[in-house]
Symmetry: C2
């Protein structure tokens, strides 16, 4: 198995609401509205939204009660950018579950949850390299 992840599917209760939330954050999808899934292409990776019950059935697993121990993250280049993205998420209707601030690992971050409870950490990590395309690489 290659050391590569290609798609992340978030289970959602209401596809239109979920799509509207990510669009309010500035994301764009070419998926037609009649499709029952929404694909966002994100630099070599696809973030998709699909009905959470169908997703669980498709995966052969039991639907959970919401948060299931997965956190997505969006790294940015500075603490000020963290503040800006968290403000943008709040404006888009997200709950901010941890206000931006300094972290125990020496960076700066905040956390919002999307309308279906999926957490996103918005972080500035001064120890990691952020490429021009937004990709991250670890110190070697």
């Amino acid at each position: 198995m290659r050391q590569r992840l290609t798609v992340i599917t978030l289970g959602v209760a209401d596809l239109a609401r979920a799509r509207a939330f990510y669009e309010a954050l500035g994301w764009r999808s070419e998926s037609p509205p009649e499709l029952e899934v929404v694909f966002f292409e994100a630099s070599g990776l696809v973030l998709s939204l699909w009905d959470s019950d169908k997703l669980a059935e498709d995966n052969g697993v039991e639907p959970g009660s919401g948060y299931g121990g997965v956190t997505l993250a969006h790294n940015v280049g500075s603490a000020a950018e963290v503040d800006a993205v968290i403000a943008e998420a709040r404006q888009a209707g997200a709950s901010v579950t941890r206000e931006p601030g300094e972290t125990f690992w020496g960076g700066y971050s905040g956390v919002f949850v999307d309308p279906d409870g999926h957490p996103w950490e918005v972080a500035h990590n001064p120890h990691w390299t952020l490429g021009a395309d937004g990709s991250v690489s670890l110190p070697s």
Copy 2:
């Protein structure tokens, strides 16, 4: 907010067990064993493993009962490769919750769950383009 995802953290109950599972799949991490987190660099994205209770507390959310409506995916170039990766995952100790087979969307896939219940779909999607580096792009 850029249309970009940079880190996915999977909450785990036993870090050594979780690391051993991903290493059994052939993944490699340079994180020292004394660190309480494991980072796998995956082509511009980082997959990290961290204690699920600490992750929930850090995110300001309630720990769930396992599956929380997030599925990771690993796209490959053929049905035969799907079979091979699912076999490799089973060999590494994963439960296979959906055996490889043709899918309703015209592809071929199977699903395994890792030791903490996080599902991975291993898929061949003939409608998507898979780059030489393993990245995916949607048809335009």
